[in-house]
């Protein structure tokens, strides 16, 4: 069955460093991949979309890569700040699927001053 894996352990980094989060998937051929941010007690917030024919996408301090051969996406936050501390979820979807997304369990990021 399809599976999405994100680091279950929290990622702790120092302010100003680059945070890199990983999303791996198996038994699935997504047409696109999305990243979301979720704060405690809140709903996920959409950050970025990358399609299967795109290698990289950037938005301000965020960068996402998508390698369909490795079945992996990397999510980078450069010049990280304590306000970036949250759980980050990756989600996969495919064409013909009515925009149905399958989510990973997320990785909690803690940025320390």
């Amino acid at each position: 069955s399809q599976k999405i894996e994100q680091n279950s352990e929290a990622l702790n980094i120092q302010e100003g460093k680059t945070a890199t989060l990983t999303c791996n998937y198996t038994n699935y051929s997504p047409a696109y991949l999305q990243w979301y941010r979720q704060d405690p007690g809140r709903g996920p917030v959409f950050l970025l979309l990358i399609r299967e024919n795109e290698k990289e996408k950037r938005k301000e301090r965020l960068k996402v890569t998508f390698d369909t051969t490795l079945k992996q996406s990397l999510f980078h936050i450069t010049a990280s700040q304590p306000a970036d501390s949250a759980t980050y979820l990756c989600a996969l979807g495919r064409t013909g699927g009515y925009n149905k997304l399958i989510f990973g369990a997320g990785t909690r990021l803690a940025v320390h001053p």
Partner: protein, 116 residues
């Protein structure tokens, strides 16, 4: 404010009761969803409606019944609540432009359901 709003935010109820959660979006989206987030934080899709038509119906007990009176509203009714139904339920909306174009979801803030 443009948003997805769901009510109530918290719901504590006894086993066997029937309860409803309501969701409304004013974003003009044509597709709405119900997701369940369990204690392990996985978000799992339950249902999706596109312009009031049910398009996704995952393997969910038939005690759960969604209803979409119009494309801006999607409600979830749960009959005969069980302990295992305790979770956070999220409503979301998106554009679809056909059968999936990768549009990002806008989520509501969730309803934490606790069955005792």
């Amino acid at each position: 404010d443009t948003a997805v709003s769901q009510t109530p935010k918290y719901l504590v109820t006894q086993m066997g009761n029937d309860k409803s959660i309501k969701c409304e979006q004013n974003l003009g989206h044509d597709t709405m969803y119900w997701y369940k987030q369990d204690s392990k934080k996985f978000l799992k899709i339950m249902f999706s409606y596109n312009n009031k038509e049910l398009i996704i119906n995952e393997t969910v007990p038939n005690r759960f019944s969604p209803k979409s009176p119009d494309k801006a509203h999607l409600n979830l009714h749960i009959n005969s609540l069980e302990l295992g139904d305790s979770a956070v339920y999220f409503c979301a909306s998106s554009s679809s432009m056909g059968q999936g174009a990768g549009y990002g979801y806008t989520f509501g803030s969730g309803t934490r359901l606790t069955v005792v």
